[in-house]
Symmetry: D2
């Protein structure tokens, strides 16, 4: 069942041209949470060689939507807030999102974004948002 969810989630991701452009992968997707990741490439960076904030927040936003969608079904991000904690320097970004609370039509979710560099995994951003059931 969870494998079906993961397969379904990957199809949705593959149908998002922007996610394909960035090379995003759905690593995990199950009721209550989701994990998205992408390998950092030169075109993801800003002028100081870090991952651009826009890449970090894209990944957080998308992971929040997946987490909320895991309990709500087809849904979208109504709003979110993100704090950047440190420059995202490394080879890969991983966003881990979870449902903190949910009702019939909305879910409040949190997401932590980590940057991987060698063996180390460092928290580089944290986000909180509201996911809304479509229709």
């Amino acid at each position: 069942m969870s494998d079906d969810m993961l397969e379904f989630g990957r199809k949705v991701l593959a149908s998002q041209p922007f996610s394909v452009l960035l090379g995003t992968e759905l690593v995990a997707f199950a009721k209550g949470g989701a994990e998205l990741a992408l390998d950092l490439r030169p075109e993801h960076l800003q002028q100081h060689g870090f991952a651009h904030g826009g890449v970090v927040s894209y990944l957080a936003d998308n992971a929040l939507t997946y987490a909320g969608g895991s309990v709500l079904g087809d849904s979208l991000t109504l709003e979110y807030k993100i704090n950047y904690l440190r420059p995202a320097v490394g080879r890969r970004l991983v966003a881990k999102a979870r449902v903190t609370g949910s009702g019939k039509s909305q879910a409040v979710c949190h997401c932590d974004v980590y940057v991987l560099d060698g063996e180390a995994e460092k928290l580089c951003a944290t986000a909180q948002g509201t996911i809304w059931k479509v229709g």
Copy 2:
């Protein structure tokens, strides 16, 4: 002087590989505000044919940083919050950011993101964030 700022701001933007990837333009940049825009391309979309939320929030985040930087100098986004108001369907996104209040080391900025479709300009997202002076 403002022309110098605009020229300088465009150089910074051109040095951000992610902004180059997305085709972002700096339309206006002067003390207290900034305007960024990009023409929507197929690779900016999500599965329903709208601009991906990640594109909208990237543009808002970057415009907030420019607005804050216009009064603080070299700076970065510490955190921001964005509300999506309607699907971004159209041919061009425009993000207009302004400084709401600032001190020596931080500025609080707001940004409205519009989608242009034909003659109409529609508000599709609004953001509030904290910009931090570097160093």
Copy 3:
């Protein structure tokens, strides 16, 4: 009609024991916006003699709800974010909220909170939130 709204809004405020405890007044209430105010008393302060952040954010939150309610009818604050810009030192707080965008069931609103001291009116906080129609 707007006078009826104001009168109605004041009845609602008078039925909130917490607002009565704090001495909040509804100064203006019309389609698209609301203004709440309170005279600062010693019991509103924190340890440095400023208005407690909790008083400032209470006023912002409540003004956001009134603004949203002016277009949605009976409603509540789903979430909001507030930035404190300067210590609230003065004799009176005024929160001015407006609807930035709205649909059938939600409104996104902004609110600026000012502190009055003598003749001067200074911006001390700014907030953005989502208001949700009840029922």
Copy 4:
């Protein structure tokens, strides 16, 4: 050492007239986290008999500041965002805050607010904010 922190934190709380007005208690205070609580009284409510959102967000805001202060020393809330998850109906509110990440001058903290009713403890709000070291 942690007992000294708790004692110190309680003195700070007792010097906040607004916290005294609301009857807030500092339940726990140690490096990395803080817990604040208050017994709900009739004057804390809004028109539907729930704790007023202003009381819930006051408690979250204050707990975030304590959590950040536990690693930064004297500090204040720069900004925060709160999602209300359910009406706060019960006899007591408890806000549990923790440091998610921190640097020399700022800490990013999260806080969950629970309402206690009989034996049950229910999550009624969740918040994320930036705490700033003073001076």
